[in-house]
C-alpha cells in the first residue's frame, strides 16, 4: 500500500447470514483514478461499496479508506469520514420531498454554517457541472432517469469529497445519457482531483473511461488490469463477460437436475 492509495481492501470476506458473498477480496484504488469493479449481477459488487462506506462490517479482513480502518471507527468518526465520500445510488435516491436545488444543498445545510446566498452559488455551480443548472427548480418526479442520476452526482460532489462511489451509474440509460454520464465521471475525477470507484456491468461504456478494472466473480477477484489488458484478456470468464456471450464459465442455466431426469423421461433411466 503506497501513500497515494486512497482505498485499500485486504482479504475481505463477507456474507449475509450463512450465504457468503465475498470470499477474500483484495483491491485498491489510487488517488485520481477511476477504478471499475465489474462482475455479473449479484456477485457482491454493491456489498463491496457498502463495506467501504461503513454500512456493513466485514467478517474478516480490513477495509481502509484514507488510511483509516472503516470497521473500527465509532459513529462520529465514521460520519466524519463519510463527509469526505460521495455515493451515487443506482437510481439516484434523491429526496422526493425536496426540489433539485434543495437536494444538492442538503449536505451544505446539514454540515456547514454557510449563509444561504453562498449555498445558492455553490449549488448552482455543482448543478452547472452536471449541466442541470436550469433544472434547479424542478422536483425529482419531473426528471428523467438520466437527469436524476446527474442531480444525484451534483449532490454527491457538493462537499468536494475525495472519493465517489458509483453504484451501477449506467444501468437503464439511453445511449446519449450513457455517454454523458461516462464523460462526467471521468471529467469530475480529473478536474476535482478525486477518486472514483465505479461498480458496473456495462463493459463497453466503462472501459472507455477507467484507469483500472477489477473483475469479481463468485466472491473473488477473477482478473484485473488496465482497460487495454482487459480487452485483450484471454481468461475465459473475462472473455465471456467483455463479449457478452450467453454461455461459458458463467453458465446460462441455474444449477438443476439433469434435464431428462427432471422431465421423468424413461430414456434417461435406460
Amino acid at each position: 500500500m503506497t501513500n497515494d492509495t486512497l482505498v485499500n481492501i485486504e482479504n475481505v470476506s463477507f456474507g449475509y447470514n450463512a450465504r457468503p458473498v465475498l470470499k477474500g477480496i483484495d483491491l485498491s484504488a489510487r488517488r485520481g483514478q477511476v477504478v471499475a469493479i465489474m462482475g455479473s449481477s449479484g456477485c457482491g459488487k454493491t456489498t463491496l461499496l457498502r463495506l467501504i462506506g461503513g454500512q456493513l462490517k466485514p467478517n474478516q479482513g480490513i477495509v481502509r479508506v484514507a488510511g483509516e480502518v472503516v470497521s473500527e471507527l465509532d459513529q462520529a468518526s465514521l460520519y466524519r469520514l463519510r463527509r469526505k465520500m460521495g455515493m451515487l445510488f443506482q437510481f439516484g435516491a434523491l429526496f422526493t420531498d425536496m426540489s433539485v436545488f434543495d437536494n444538492v444543498a442538503f449536505q451544505l445545510r446539514e454540515h456547514t454554517e454557510l449563509p444561504e446566498d453562498v449555498i445558492r452559488d455553490l449549488v448552482l455551480m455543482k448543478l452547472n457541472a452536471v449541466g442541470l443548472r436550469g433544472a434547479a427548480g424542478l422536483m425529482p418526479s419531473e426528471l428523467s432517469g438520466g437527469m436524476a442520476r446527474r442531480v444525484a452526482l451534483a449532490r454527491a460532489i457538493a462537499l468536494d469529497p475525495m472519493l465517489i462511489m458509483y453504484d451501477e451509474p449506467f444501468a437503464g440509460l439511453d445511449p446519449i445519457s450513457l455517454g454523458v454520464t461516462g464523460n462526467l465521471i471521468r471529467r469530475l475525477t480529473d478536474t476535482l482531483g478525486l477518486t472514483s470507484l465505479v461498480v458496473t456491468h456495462d463493459v463497453q461504456e466503462s472501459l472507455k473511461i477507467v484507469d483500472y478494472v477489477y473483475f469479481v466473480s463468485e466472491g473473488v477477484v477473477e482478473a484485473q488490469g488496465t482497460a487495454e489488458e482487459i480487452r485483450s484478456s484471454g481468461l475465459p470468464f473475462v472473455h465471456q463477460f467483455v463479449h457478452g456471450e450467453p454461455d461459458g464459465p458463467v453458465p446460462f442455466h441455474y444449477p438443476a437436475l439433469p434435464y431428462a431426469e427432471d422431465l421423468k423421461l424413461e430414456v434417461a433411466r435406460a
Binding site: 462506506g53 454500512q55 460520519y79 466524519r80 463519510r82 463527509r83 465520500m85 455515493m87 445510488f89 443506482q90 437510481f91 435516491a93 434523491l94 429526496f95 422526493t96 442538503f106 449536505q107 446539514e110 454540515h111 444525484a152
Partner: protein
C-alpha cells in the same frame, strides 16, 4: 409424518424467536428516537413541518367526525335520559363521554388511519428508494433528521386533535340536544360546568391522548423503518400500522381508564 411434526415445532419456535427479536428491535428503535431527539427541538422547523403534515392535514377528518359523534351522543343520550326525566343532564353525558373516552380514543383511531398510515408509507418508501441509506452515506443520521421530528410532531399533535374533537363534539351535542330537541340551554351548560372536573376528566383525557400519540406514532415509524423494501413490504407495513396501533389504542385505553377512574364511585 415425524418430519412434518418437527417442521411444525421448529416453525413455531422460529416465529416465537422472530417475534421476541422484533419486540427487542422495536424497543431499541424507540430509545434511539428519544436519544436522537435533539435535532427535532434544536431545528424545530423540521418538527413544525411534520406537525403540518400529520396534525393540520388531519384536522378536517377529526373535526367532521367529532361533530357527528357529538350529534349522535346528543340523540342517544336524550333518548335514554328522558326515560328517567333527567334530560337536562345531557350536557354532562355528552361532555364526559367525549372528554374522558371518545375524544382521545376516536381521535387517536382516526389519527392512526389518516396520519399513521401516511407516516409508515412515507418512511417505508424512503427506505425502499434508498433515500435513508443515501442520507446515512451523507453522514446525516436518518433517525435524528427524519424519524425523530415525525415522532414529536405526532406526540404534540395528538392531544390538540383530541381536544378539538371533544370541543366540536360538545358543539354537536348542543346542536342536537338544545337547538334541535329543545333541552334547556341553561341547565345543559351549567350542569356540564359543575360536573366536569378539570383534573379528573380533562387532564386524564389529555394524558390518554399523549399516550396514544406516543403509541401510534412510534408504531407507524417503526413499521415504516422496518418495512421490507418492496411494494408488498410497504403495503403490509401500512396495514400493520393501522391494525397494531388501533389495537394498542383500545388496550391502552382500558388500562389507563382502570388506573385513572378506579374508586371513583
Amino acid at each position: 409424518m415425524l418430519k412434518a411434526l418437527f417442521g411444525g415445532v421448529s416453525s413455531v419456535g422460529r416465529q416465537t424467536v422472530d417475534g421476541i427479536w422484533r419486540i427487542g428491535y422495536a424497543t431499541r428503535f424507540f430509545f434511539a428516537i428519544l436519544l436522537h431527539s435533539g435535532t427535532a427541538f434544536s431545528r424545530f422547523g423540521l418538527t413544525i413541518r411534520e406537525i403540518y403534515f400529520s396534525g393540520v392535514l388531519s384536522l378536517i377528518i377529526i373535526l367532521v367526525s367529532g361533530l357527528f359523534v357529538g350529534m349522535v351522543l346528543g340523540l342517544q343520550g336524550y333518548e335514554t335520559l328522558q326515560t328517567y326525566g333527567s334530560e337536562e343532564a345531557l350536557g354532562i353525558l355528552v361532555a364526559l363521554s367525549l372528554v374522558r373516552e371518545l375524544g382521545p380514543v376516536v381521535a387517536a383511531l382516526l389519527f392512526a388511519s389518516r396520519a399513521g398510515s401516511a407516516i409508515t408509507a412515507e418512511i417505508g418508501l424512503m427506505k425502499a428508494t434508498e433515500q435513508l441509506t443515501a442520507m446515512e452515506m451523507m453522514a446525516v443520521d436518518p433517525i435524528a433528521r427524519v424519524v425523530a421530528p415525525r415522532f414529536w410532531a405526532g406526540v404534540l399533535s395528538m392531544p390538540l386533535l383530541a381536544a378539538m374533537f371533544s370541543a366540536v363534539g360538545i358543539m354537536g351535542g348542543y346542536l342536537v340536544g338544545v337547538v334541535l330537541i329543545g333541552v334547556d340551554e341553561g341547565s345543559f351548560w351549567s350542569q356540564m360546568q359543575a360536573k366536569v372536573d378539570f383534573n379528573l376528566d380533562i387532564m386524564n383525557g389529555i394524558i390518554k391522548s399523549v399516550v396514544f400519540g406516543i403509541a401510534v406514532t412510534a408504531i407507524a415509524l417503526f413499521e415504516g423503518y422496518d418495512a421490507p423494501p418492496t411494494a408488498e413490504g410497504v403495503s403490509g407495513a401500512t396495514t400493520r400500522t393501522v391494525v397494531t396501533s388501533s389495537l394498542a389504542i383500545l388496550a391502552l385505553d382500558f388500562m389507563l381508564t382502570a388506573f385513572m377512574f378506579r374508586g371513583l364511585n
